[in-house]
Symmetry: C2
Subunit: 249 residues, 2 copies
DNA sequence: ACGCATAATTGATCCAGGTCAATGCGCTGA
DNA sequence: TCAGCGCATTGACCTGGATCAATTATGCGT
């Protein structure tokens, strides 16, 4: 666990527990958020067997790189990740941030190759689901397939929302929306909706929202001046989420 | 067929043939692009039975509305559609355009409700796939499930690309990318990659790309002045797609 | 074929947010 | 403890594309 001491993981307790023991899905605290939902216990045991529990990634380490053959879908177990797509000229877009229980790599099924790069934002770990095995299981566990589709659909729906954000929202609306989205996701995971760590850099946030770093920085200070938030480097608390909600448009 | 005479459907021949006969998947000219790919012929016959072939929609008519219960996934049979998401304040974002063989409504699986509105851009028709039935079939036809996931994945991948476009590209790059994307899709469907109809309005294009109508209009005239395209109201031809490719960045 | 509504073009002006530049802060490692 | 470096903040200025305002096509209904 030494590597965990020099960072501030978002989900320290989870990381501690689940790094140390390769605990079964049934006992995983993410169960409620994850794939196995709705599976019977013998099916669950089957699933358990094919899941590879990874050793963990350190800040900046890649889970997979763009244009690499697709083999597995990953579920974040602890920590957090970002995914990016890049153009040949070097420009890149942060397409998403991923927290425990969330799936990474589903956009690679069609092309059979990852079309984005996934990097850890802090010390993190994942469960690896080899897609071929997953397919085999689909025959005997239709519920699993439905669950998978549901996951894909959820991300699709989220992406449409993001398209609206990128295409139609002002800088202020973008940042307010982003903060509340994080807040909601932390709450879903049993953490404070009010206070949390921004594990990604200002640059990552700006990039993701289609803004310049400077704009994000200015907005943070303005939100703070207006008493909406309190922010100190990576630690943020939402002081007036009602007003933030209004700002989302 | 009277309703088809006063419009210029993108896929007139398809519309003619497939409106009149409820032809089976096996004989459908979209087979290659559509769901049944990889199914055995007896499976195909099964699938055929659950597919409802709709009567057709006229320009502006809604296939489904936002916040309506989810029942079916739709495949465009002829014509074209757009999907939009809207905010409470009235702003809306065109999240996609859909052509024959493409799937609409997959982002509704998770929420079990359509989170976008789909409208016909011209006289169009769809195949309706009741999701419940599709699920039942999944048990006996795992291949179908895989195919569905593949479709979802493809759209996901496309959305990431669009996020890059919205977040990082200039107006010029956006429009060039859009035109080439249409071109490629028409080519995939056996139509000219060089000359086609823009069934959507300038407003729809602008909205989709996160631009103002005026900007799109100006770019069209500029592209025309520079000899890249030739455009006359809805009819466009790409005169220099190599240079357009360069403009995409 | 005519007239009205809607869509598209074109021009003039403006501003949100980007870019450039300088400074400040906080890790990290010796 | 402190130097060095990457990240973040702050200020000054600039610009791509939005907005506003006419004008001109297009197409639809009668």
């Amino acid at each position: 666990m030494a590597q965990l001491n020099n960072v501030t993981p978002l989900f320290k307790d989870l990381a501690k527990v689940e790094h140390e023991h390769n605990i079964a899905c049934r006992e995983c605290s993410l169960y409620r958020l994850c794939l196995p939902l709705g599976l019977h216990s013998n099916d669950l045991a089957q699933l358990d067997k094919i899941i590879k529990r990874s050793q963990g990634f350190t800040r900046g380490e890649a889970l997979f790189a763009s244009d690499t053959p697709f083999k597995s879908i990953f579920v974040v177990r602890s920590g957090s990740f970002k995914t990016t797509v890049q153009a040949s000229d070097g420009r890149e877009q942060v397409t998403g941030f991923y927290f425990p229980g969330e799936f990474i790599g589903m956009d690679a099924i069609y092309e059979q190759a990852y079309k984005s790069t996934a990097k850890a934002l802090e010390s993190s770990s994942v469960c690896e689901l080899p897609f071929e095995k997953l397919q085999e299981f689909g025959t005997t566990m239709p519920q699993l397939q439905v669950q998978m589709m549901s996951r894909l659909s959820k991300e699709l729906s989220g992406d449409k929302t993001l398209m609206f954000l990128l295409g139609k929202k002002t800088a202020e609306e973008k940042l307010a929306t982003f903060l509340l989205s994080l807040s909601r996701r932390f709450q879903d995971r049993g953490f404070s909706a009010r206070e949390f760590q921004l594990t990604m850099s200002r640059g990552d946030i700006a990039n993701h929202l289609g803004l310049a770093v400077e704009t994000v920085s200015r907005l943070f200070t303005r939100f703070q001046d207006e008493g909406l938030i309190s922010i100190q480097s990576k630690a943020i608390s939402l002081l007036d989420s009602d007003k933030l909600k209004q700002l989302c448009g």
